[in-house]
Symmetry: C2
Subunit: 501 residues, 2 copies
């Protein structure tokens, strides 16, 4: 149907309203995490709940459902319209199939679970969480049961964040990855560690922020349609069609923390900023999946930002910003210090080689819980056993074991982790495709010239937004389905050279 | 009825929802004026319009109207409940009596008028605005005609911002004021001007902000429930029950600009922060009128902030912040430089003595326009004539004449200006009452001790919020109706001494 068809216009209006309510909600959240004064917390939570109710009412409105039915029944839909309606229908089903009493129970349980976790973790008290987590598991399985068209609960949860992917596919990718990564991480951990002493000197906040922002301006992050502010836990957020903001935090004795958080979030943000203008405000007006999103943050953070070419371009500027701190440091030392490998207990502190082992561990535990093969009461022991197998380490307690991450304690088990590693895998697959299409890309990076890389990603990954399923996008853009080979090749070459493995 | 009566609870919930929608709208506006990146403007305007529609739908819901009717008919209302329902009813009538087609016309015309003004002012082209302003006048009269219970259009507009006041009352106060101010301003303008050269040295932004924030912390502005950010046109805004923020701007060659804007907005904000907690989220949960609000900003800006006692308390700290800039300046010179009187063409640059003459001029022109005694096409000439009569000055063009202020060009004539001068008048009346109740207040100020002043204002002006009508509040708090005497006494004593009149 034509764009000006009244039926289509009415749908576009609905979608714009839903997007605008989403943007307003994002502003409430952004402010909460950046500037909101402390006494405002309770009132802000109430405002956010109100806005969620208003958005839910719009998203589940029966008249809207009929509009989707009627438009979906027309024979004159373009492929883009067909896809918009398919995604809108999926969102509508997500929002309407769960009974509202169940949604309320989920939400209340999630709140209770989170607040119990904030006490149980410092107290190292997993026993307290066991009955709560058992209920979380029951509720998660019940939620999935409203979507019987999936092969199982895990397939449902994976599809929520990474449309079209299945547990079987993730299993296969992850097992190939683990087989390759465990020996690589072992070998790197036994090699001589690079020098990192200079990273613990004093790096003033303002200069750190200015340096990071100069880099992402070079990358192609558009500050006229975004900004960076300080927060506790860095994130990217879309507040509107042309308002995509990032946040970071600064540790004055660890400049890598702010820099790599800025580069990471800028990757998410450039993806959102690059979505074609005519898709904004529609169901396709954003990144297509958690995994593809993470691939973009990881690409700019790691494949670009932790490369030797990156430091060839930026070490001089970095030293200009911090001349005393870096007076006795070489470019090569900086590169090596940005790529230290160490087996550690904490996922969020992990390096490129070991990070995925943390993720795979969690994903497999989720899979066993949802499959009924692991009981919640045995989860803490299973965690320790998995860490010994995958990382050769055992946490001294549950605080840094099964209680480590908040994800399961928000009230859902399933689908929370796999996107991180899918993102890493895809980051190398997309980068390899960009390189194949733009020979000599590394030389561009060494000159701080990101025009070809950003342009290629914009055209092939960003502009389509949600127009293709993740599976189709990966196939179109890289010529093959998701595959772990480019990622393993990247890691093997980089770390073999770095650590003389 | 009891607070826990379900009928009352349902009303409180409605009011809380309306307040929360207002707070969300305030956040959208705050962000727009502080941090929003430029490309986001169009999307933000759409989000704000959406939120206005949602709020309007809540505010005009027929079911809500019936709730007000039913509650209003009960015989067991407390005085506080009676007042809440009266204000809620007034707001409901405001929101429902104008036909929606007329509201849409008003809004569209206002947008057109504003954007024409942004071009006409720099072009000094009042002729272009004449037909637009004629329509504005027609629409303003038509809006007022939906409220025939008022004595006339001006009474209606005055009541919107200063409930209970009438044009007759304002006329009387203003004419007494003008008669006293014109000769005082004349005399001051002929006296020797104080030294101000040192105010045009370089005052770095960060130190200016830190100084102003230290002062308002002393005043009693609560930074745990608010914050200050930078903007172009300073304002105060309530984003939630415990979230009242202010904004300022800094000119590095004029430290008074930021300082007095900060003190001014802190007065508005302390009023809002001081409203009793149980009134928050109800129709009484904010300042009661434009005039009373402005009285609090003016009290802290002028009666406190431009006093000799203020500089006795702060000159040492100000000089500690700017030692080189103030090396050759005495405390007395600082005090005098903060109180320069000069007849000028621009309202927003005016001093305490002449400011009200600018306001009275505008108010009287509005009155003549609404009364049909002045035609829009004669407004530019009438402006010049009034300035000659009231201020002894004539603008060289209409840019700094009739095109000077945006107020009329937003799409309404009536009620925009009188609150500024009512605020000045009331600031002295409230301050005199505070002084009568707290002998030696000036000594407190000279020690930067604002506990008694802030405590008295909190108890007598802030905590009641909208519980009393402005008229009742003034009577209860000062023992008499609004009167110009304390204000004239304050100005006469201060400026006679300062200028040796």
């Amino acid at each position: 149907m034509t764009q000006s068809d009244p039926q289509w216009q009415a749908l576009l209006d609905r979608w714009q309203t839903l997007a605008d309510l989403g943007g307003i909600g994002a502003l409430l959240g952004w402010d909460q995490s950046t500037y909101q004064p402390p006494a405002a917390s309770a009132g802000r939570a109430r405002q956010m709940a109100l806005l969620s109710r208003l958005r839910h009412a719009e998203a589940t409105d029966a008249a809207y459902g009929r509009m989707l039915d009627e438009a979906g029944g027309r024979g004159d839909l373009s492929p883009e319209q067909t896809r918009m309606l398919a995604v809108a229908r999926k969102n509508f089903e997500e929002a309407t199939r769960l009974p509202s009493a169940f949604v309320a129970e989920l939400s209340e349980h999630g709140g209770n679970s989170y607040s119990a976790w904030t006490e149980a973790r410092p107290a190292n008290d997993f026993a307290r969480m066991v009955p709560i987590l058992e209920k979380t598991l029951d509720l998660s399985l019940q939620a999935a049961s409203y979507f019987p068209e999936y092969g199982g609960a895990l397939d449902y949860f994976i599809d929520q964040s990474d449309e079209g992917m299945t547990a079987a596919q993730v299993d296969e990718v992850f097992s190939g990855l683990r087989a390759a990564l465990v020996p690589l991480a072992d070998a790197a951990a036994q090699a001589r560690a690079p020098r990192t002493d200079f990273l613990h000197r004093h790096y003033p906040q303002a200069a750190q922020l200015a340096f990071g922002e100069a880099v992402i301006r070079d990358y192609g992050y558009d500050f006229t349609a975004g900004r960076q502010d300080l927060t506790h836990h860095p994130f990217m957020t879309r507040l509107g069609g042309h308002d995509v903001r990032i946040t970071t935090r600064v540790r004055e004795d660890d400049p890598g923390d702010a820099l790599y958080s800025t580069l990471h979030e800028s990757g998410h943000a450039m993806y959102e900023q690059g979505v074609a203008a005519h898709l904004l405000g529609t169901p396709l007006g954003g990144g297509v999946s958690a995994g593809v999103h993470e691939s973009q943050s990881r690409l700019w953070e790691n494949l670009v930002g932790r490369s030797r070419a990156f430091w060839a371009a930026y070490f001089g500027k970095f030293r200009d910003a911090f001349p005393e701190q870096l007076a006795d440091v070489t470019e090569e030392e900086m590169y090596r210090a940005s790529n230290v490998v160490a087996r550690s207990l904490i996922r969020t502190d992990a390096d490129e080689l070991t990070y995925n082992l943390h993720v795979i561990t969690r994903y497999e535990l989720e899979r066993e819980l949802l499959g009924g093969r692991l009981a919640v009461r045995d989860l803490a022991d299973a965690w320790h056993a998995a860490y010994e197998a995958n990382l050769g380490l055992r946490a001294p307690d549950d605080r840094d074991g099964v209680l480590q991450d908040v994800h399961w304690y928000f009230g859902q088990i399933g689908g929370a982790f796999q996107g991180y590693t899918i993102g890493n895998v895809l980051s190398a697959q997309f980068y390899a495709a960009a390189e194949a299409a733009n020979p000599g890309l590394e030389g561009d990076i060494a000159r701080a010239d990101f025009g070809r890389l950003h342009g290629w990603l914009r055209e092939n990954v960003y502009a389509p937004g949600g127009l293709y399923t993740p599976t189709d996008l990966i196939q179109r853009t890289t010529g093959q389905p998701m595959t772990v080979e480019p990622y393993l090749k990247y890691l093997r070459e980089k770390y073999t050279e770095l650590y003389g493995l």
